[in-house]
Symmetry: C2
Subunit: 155 residues, 2 copies
């Protein structure tokens, strides 16, 4: 395959996207979890669950990309790419949903609750977590689009 | 064009999807707006804004479909379908974001605020509005997928 689509699975751009997703997801998870009782709020639990799904998915595909870039390019099978595309799309929708839920609840806590639901420091941690989740979603949808674009050329 | 893709722009399935989107969006807007001071909450304003964009978009494309089904099929130009695909995707992401924000804030109001933020009747109206927004999003993403699927066959 000479006409390589940058960003599709098995390229160095894809590796960069996957690593970015994993880094932002981990950052989002750390801002949300470390030393905070996040599990009192449904939206925050949802974010943690989705990030717990996204991080292994991105890291697995990053390993596939590392193998493909540095060792040996495996032949792309259409079934495998199809599964990757489906997984990417489902996870990116869930990521967007989780990021929006977190952002809106954090905003609601700040505007309505004052210091009742969360102190200044804690509230800004929730906001940062939502921002990291949005950045992770942007990279995730980019990966999903590139892989979807690759799919018809394999048939 | 004999091999008609059901659900793509200009078919009766597309007309049904567009009308469904408009109906659910209007229902969501009515549950949210009528007699309620929704503008105190950012998420609810976001939902109303997005629904205010979605309804004219769906109705316009429904009119195009009606014309195409009942009067005369116009030739599909690739630029126009491309614009429709872009608009569908952007609006469906925004719809999902608005639905998630509304749902999570409504849930947060109920679990944390009790009757402080909204009474039993008002809270269930916010929940119904979020549910209608989700249904509208499901139909919207279906339209977006069908039109995206149509796009490569036009090049």
């Amino acid at each position: 395959m000479d006409d390589e689509l940058p960003g599709a699975i098995g390229t160095s751009a894809s590796l960069a996207l996957r690593l970015g997703q994993a880094v932002f997801s981990v950052a989002s998870l750390l801002f949300m979890c470390v030393g905070v009782e996040f599990y009192a709020y449904t939206s925050f639990c949802f974010l943690v669950t989705i990030k717990g799904l996204t991080i292994p998915w991105s890291l697995t595909l990053a390993i596939v990309d590392v193998f493909s870039v540095f060792v040996k390019r495996p032949s792309r099978q259409v079934q495998i790419v199809f599964i990757i595309v489906i997984g990417d799309w489902v996870l990116s929708f869930l990521s967007l949903a989780a990021a929006c839920s977190t952002a809106s609840v954090a905003d609601f806590m700040i505007t309505e609750g004052g210091a009742f639901f969360c102190g200044r420091k804690l509230c800004s941690r929730f906001q940062l977590s939502a921002a990291m989740a949005f950045l992770s979603w942007c990279l995730s949808i980019a990966s999903a689009l590139f892989n979807l674009w690759l799919l018809p050329s394999l048939y």
